[in-house]
Symmetry: C3
Subunit: 456 residues, 3 copies
C-alpha cells in the first residue's frame, strides 16, 4: 500500500490495526489491485451515451477520417501547420494524412495522441510507438485494408464492446435508414435555440414540420412536431450545448409572440430579442421533455468561434466564469426532467458535484472536451464518487465522430476509474474488489440504462 493511497480519501476506519500495513510488497498488491478492478471493467460491454456518429457512415473509411478528427487537425495547426494545407478543396485522403503526419512529432506528448496510437495498435496491428514520416504510409495502407474489409463497422463495434451508440441528430434528421436500436437518436437543439435568426434554420424547421411559425404558440407546435417525430423513432434524450453566458428563463407567450413573428417575418432581431427568443425556445424544449419523458442533456460552457481562423471544429473555447446558479430557475421549474449535465471547465466540476448532490433532477455526465484529459478526469471522478449518489453519475461518453475512437477514449477512462476505485474504495474504505467493481459498472453502464432506458 503506498502512501498516496493509504490516507487518500481519509475514509478508512479509525482503528489502525485493521490496516494491512504489514508487508514489503504492498505496492505490488496495489498495482495488482488496480488490475483486478480494471479487468472486469474492461471486459464489460458498453453503451456510449453521447457521440456525433453519422449512422450512415459510422466507421472510418481511411486514416484521413481518423487524423481529420479536430483533436489532431487543431493541435497540428496550433503547432504550426497552416490551415489551408489540410482544408484544400478536393484533397485526397492519403495526401491529407501525409500533410498532417510531420506535425505529429510536436504533439506526441498529448493524451489526444495517445488515443491515436492506442487505436492504431488495437485496430490496425501497428507496432511502432510513434507515427512518423517514415512509417505512416505502411500504417495508412494496412489500416485501409482493414477498413475496406467486410463488416468493418460491425468489427469495430464488436471489438470495442459497444452495444449502443447514442447520436446527436439535427432536428430535421429523417432518422431513416439505420437501426435506431443500435444507433440511438438524440435530438440536438442548438440550432433551434441559438440560430433561428438564420433563414436557413427557419427553412429547415418549416420543411421538417410543414408548419410556418408566426407566433409563440405556432412555434411551440412546430417544436412539438419535432419531438413527436423523434419520439416515434426511439429518441432517448434532448441535447444542447450552451455558452457560458446563457441564463434559462421562462418567457411569456405575450413577450415571445412579437419576437417570433419578427424573426419568422425575416427581420433581424436585436441582441436582447435574440436572447429572449433563445430563452423561449429553450424553455419550450424543457416543457416537451416533461411531456415526452426525455432527459435533457445540458453541455454547459462553450464559446463558439473564438479563434476565427482555426481549422474546422477547432475554433471553440470557453470562459470559466460560468455557474450552475444560472440554471436555478430551470432546475426548480422542471422537477420531472432529468438533466445530465456536462461542464466544459474543470473549475465547474465542484458545482456540478454539489448541484447533483442537492437537486434530484441533476446528474453528472462524462468528461467533456477540454476536461477530457487525464489530470482533470481523475480529479473530477474522485469528487463525484466521493459526494454524489452513485445512482446519479453517468461516467463517460466518447463524444466521437468515428466509431474507432470509443475504444481508446473509454480505455483511458476505465483505467482512471479503476485507479480511483482501487485507491479510494478498496484501500481507503476497505471495500471488497467486487463491491468496487459493481460501483464501477454502475457508473460505466448501469446508470446509462437507468437514466436513458435499457439497450434494445
Amino acid at each position: 500500500m503506498n502512501i498516496r493511497s493509504a490516507g487518500l480519501t481519509g475514509l478508512s476506519v479509525l482503528e489502525s490495526d485493521r490496516f494491512v500495513f504489514r508487508s514489503g510488497d504492498l505496492d505490488f498488491m496495489s498495482a495488482n489491485l488496480i488490475q483486478e478492478v480494471l479487468e472486469p471493467l474492461q471486459s464489460m460491454r458498453l453503451i456510449d451515451p453521447h457521440t456525433h456518429i453519422n449512422p450512415h457512415q459510422a466507421a472510418s473509411k481511411t486514416l484521413a477520417d481518423i487524423l481529420g478528427y479536430h483533436y489532431y487537425t487543431e493541435l497540428a495547426h496550433s503547432a504550426g501547420m497552416p490551415r489551408q494545407q489540410i482544408e484544400e478543396p478536393g484533397l485526397a485522403p492519403k495526401d491529407k494524412v501525409s500533410r498532417l503526419v510531420p506535425w505529429l512529432r510536436t504533439i506526441e506528448n498529448t493524451a489526444q495522441y495517445s488515443w491515436l496510437l492506442e487505436m492504431c495498435h488495437f485496430f490496425f496491428d501497428f507496432k511502432d510507438d510513434r507515427i512518423t514520416v517514415n512509417n505512416w504510409e505502411g500504417l495508412y495502407d494496412q489500416s485501409l485494408k482493414k477498413m475496406q474489409s467486410a463488416n468493418w463497422e460491425q468489427t469495430v463495434l464488436e471489438q470495442s464492446g459497444l452495444d449502443q451508440v447514442y447520436l446527436t441528430n439535427d432536428f430535421d434528421d429523417p432518422l431513416q435508414g439505420f437501426d435506431t436500436k443500435k444507433y440511438v437518436p438524440c435530438l440536438r437543439t442548438d440550432d433551434l435555440v441559438f440560430h433561428l435568426g438564420k433563414g436557413q434554420v427557419r427553412e429547415r424547421l418549416q420543411k421538417a414540420t410543414s408548419l410556418e411559425p408566426s407566433s409563440a404558440s405556432t412555434l411551440k407546435n412546430a417544436i412539438g412536431k419535432l419531438f413527436s417525430h423523434f419520439s416515434t423513432n426511439g429518441v432517448r434524450a434532448c441535447a444542447i450545448s450552451l455558452p457560458p453566458d446563457f441564463h434559462p428563463a421562462a418567457v411569456s407567450s405575450a413577450t415571445a409572440d412579437g419576437i417570433v413573428a419578427k424573426v419568422f417575418g425575416g427581420h433581424e432581431l436585436s441582441a436582447a430579442e435574440s436572447v429572449t427568443l433563445s430563452q423561449f425556445v429553450f424553455w419550450t424544449l424543457a416543457e416537451y421533455c416533461v411531456e415526452y419523458r426525455l432527459p435533457f442533456d445540458l453541455m454547459i460552457g462553450v464559446n463558439r468561434r473564438v479563434y476565427e481562423n482555426g481549422v474546422f471544429q477547432g475554433q471553440d473555447l470557453f470562459d470559466t466564469r460560468v455557474s450552475l446558479i444560472q440554471y436555478k430557475a430551470l432546475f426548480n421549474a422542471f422537477p420531472t426532467v432529468i438533466f445530465p449535465v456536462s461542464v466544459l471547465a474543470e473549475t465547474s466540476n465542484q458545482e456540478l458535484v454539489s448541484y447533483s448532490w442537492i437537486f434530484p433532477n441533476v446528474v453528472t455526465s462524462g468528461h467533456w472536451w477540454y476536461s477530457n484529459i487525464p489530470v482533470y478526469i481523475e480529479n473530477d471522478t474522485r469528487g463525484r464518487l466521493q459526494a454524489v449518489p452513485m445512482t446519479k453519475q453517468i461516467g463517460y461518453y466518447s463524444d466521437m465522430y468515428k466509431l474507432e475512437f470509443a475504444m481508446p477514449k473509454f480505455a483511458m477512462y476505465r483505467r482512471i476509474l479503476a485507479k480511483v476505485l482501487a485507491e479510494d474504495f478498496v484501500i481507503s474504505r476497505r471495500w471488497s474488489v467486487n463491491r468496487a467493481v459493481e460501483l464501477g459498472k454502475r457508473v460505466l453502464r448501469g446508470n446509462v440504462e437507468t437514466i436513458f432506458g435499457e439497450a434494445g
Copy 2:
C-alpha cells in the same frame, strides 16, 4: 518511498545522495510513516471551533437525530426520496429512520456515508459494513440504549477527545443554562446583516436589547448591547455566512439614517437599500469586533434557497464567481480584527491561501460544507501548508449539529493531514516525524487557542 511522494512538493534538498532511495520496502516505510504521524494527532484532545450544537441538547437522542442531519436527508432526497416522507409532521423518530434507510444504498459511495458508518462502528458497536433494511433496526435499538445511558453527552465528548465546542448562537440567545467554558458562545450575525427587513427579526432585536432603533446610531447602540451581552458570557468570535455577491463597504451614518428609520418604521426597502443596510450593519459588526477584540469568522460564498423544494437545510448552493477582492476594503480598514475565512468553493482556496499569505489579519479556516470532501480537503491542505505562515491556519472544524459527528469528521481530516505531513514534510523536505507532528498539532489545536483564546 513511492514515486508520488518522492518529488511531491519538490522541496527536498538538491543532493540526491541524501535521499533514502535504497530499500525495496520503502513503501512499507511510507505507510508506517503516515501511521507514525497520525497516531499522536489521533490521541490529542481537540477544540472544535465552529459547530451548530445546541448546548441544551448537544448529543443525539435517537438515530433520527443522526440520520436527520441534512447531509443524509438531502442526499436521500437527491437520490429519489420524496421530501414529504421525512418531513411529515409528528413523524416518530424510528419511523423517520425506517424511511431513510432504504435510500442509504444509493449513497454508500459518499464521504458523508462514511462518517455515518464510522460513527456507528465507534459509538454504537455496529459491526456490519452497510446499514440496510435488514440490519438497521438492531442498530437503532442498540444506539438508543447507548444514547439513553447516563452521561451520554459526556461520554461522546470524552471518547471524541473534545475539550471545547464552539457554538453559533442567535443574537438574542440568553446564553444561560449551560457551561460557556465547555460550549463556547459565538455571535451569529446573519439575521442582523441580511434579515432586518423581517419584522420578526426586528422584534427579536428590540426584545433582546430593550431598544427601538430608528437611526444609524441607535441601531449601532442596539448591536453594541448584543456584543456587551455576549462578551459578558465569554463569546470568542463573531460569525457570519455570506452570499457570493456581498461586498463589504463603509456606509455613512447620514446614508444609513434614512434606511434604518424606514425599515424599523415597518416599510419595505428597495433592493439597493437592503444592500446598503446590510453593508452598514456588517461594517458596524467589524467595528465592535475591534472594541471587543473578537475574531470575525467569515464564511464566504453560500447562496441560500437555491433549490426551493429541497429538504430542511438542503436548499443552499453556491456560485464559484466570487473573489476575496470583494473584501479588500474590509481587510484594510480593520487591521486589528482577525478574520478566520472559510470559502465554500474549492476554486476559492488559492485566493484564500494568497490573501492569508499577504494580509496579517486573514487566516485560513477549515474545510467548509461542499469543500469538506476528501479530494478537496487534501488539495486545499497542501496549498495552505505550502504557502501560509503556520501560525495562521485553523485546520478544521466539524460544523456539526450533534456531538457524535465530531469524531468521524475530525478522523477524516486527521488522516488527510497526516498524509500531507508525511509526504510533503517528512519525505519531501526531510523533516523529522516529531517536527511534522508539531506542525499538525498547531494546525489542529494550537492555532485555535492562539486565535480565539485558550480553553477554559
Copy 3:
C-alpha cells in the same frame, strides 16, 4: 510501480501483460526512475526567461538582499512583524536580517522558506535545518564572506548553470554597461499602458525619446523609438503584467487623438478615457511586436495595491474572475506575434492549456507568483504536458530579483517536472527514460531558444 502511477494518466496501452507488475521492489524502481529522469535535467544548463535582475548588481551583497526578497518580508509581516521594523530608513543590512530572523520560525512550513534554506545550504555551506535567532549570525557572516569574494556573481551563474538571464527593463532603460548577451533585455511596458496618467511617466517617455507626444500618431512614434532602441540592444521580448479586468481592444486614432492630447496636456483623464488609453497603447505595442518580430509576454491577473499597508512589493493580489476570452480580439488580430502567457490564478490554468491547444500564437509560460507553489505547479504541469503541443511550453522562469534564487526555484521545478515525466510518460505511457528526458529538456530550455532565440 505504485498505485498512483499505474493508471495515473490512464494512457498506458490496453494489454495488461505489457505492464511490469511483477516485482515487490517496483517502488524502489519508481523512486530510482524519478532520479534517473531528474539527473540529466539537473545537470543541464539553463536560460532563465523572466527575471527582475538588475544587471548592474545582479548578485546579492548581503543576506539582507536575500531575506529582503518580498516573499520573506511579506510572509514575516503577515505572521505579525510590523512593516516599519524592516522599512526603517537607513537600516543597516545586518540589523534588517536580525529583525526578520525571529519571524522565520512562523514560516518554516512554506515553500518559500524551503528556497531560502536550500540556497543557504548550496551557496553558503550552511549545515543546519533551520535559520534561528541562535545561528543566523554565523550564516550572515559566512555568507558575507562568500558574497564579497571575487567574481561572486560569476560563481552564482556558474554554480546555478545559468547561461542567460532575461531582464525586465523599464522602457527608458539606457541598456548600457552590461553584457546584453548574458543579461538579455526585455521591454517592460506596464508604465506605458497603465501609467501615462502620471506626469513622471510622461516625462520619462519624453526624455527617453526626445519626443513630445500630442496625438495618437506621435505617441505611436515615441513608442516606436523605444522599440528601436531596445531592438538595437538585443531585446528578446516585450512584457507586461495585466489586471484581471483588462480587455485588449483596437482603438481608432480618431478616438485616441483626443485622449492622448488631453493626458499629455497634463489633464486628468476620466476612468473610461484611461481604459481607452491603456487599450490604445497596448494595441500599439502588439503592432510593434509584429514589426520587430518580438514575443509579447502577457502576465495576466494581478491586482495592484490590494493591501495598501503591506510591505514593499507585498501589496498585490488577484481575482480569479478573469478569462482568456478577454484576449480573443488580440489573439485573432496578431497571428504572427507569439504570446507566452502566464496566469496568476491556478484556476486559469485549464484555460491557458486550452487556448494554447487551439491558438497557434499562444504558448504556456512558467508558474507565476501565487501559482509558483508545488501543489499548483504539479497539477498545472500535468495539464500542460497532457494537452498542449510540446513545442509550445515554456516550463519555468525564476522571476527573481537576485541571482541566488534561480538555483532553488529551478530545483523545485525540476523535481516536480521529473516526477510528472516519470509517472505520466515513463510509467503510464511506457516511454523510455531518454525520451522523457528529451521532453523535459525541451520544456526547460529548448522551447526558450525556439521562442525567444538562441543563447549568445
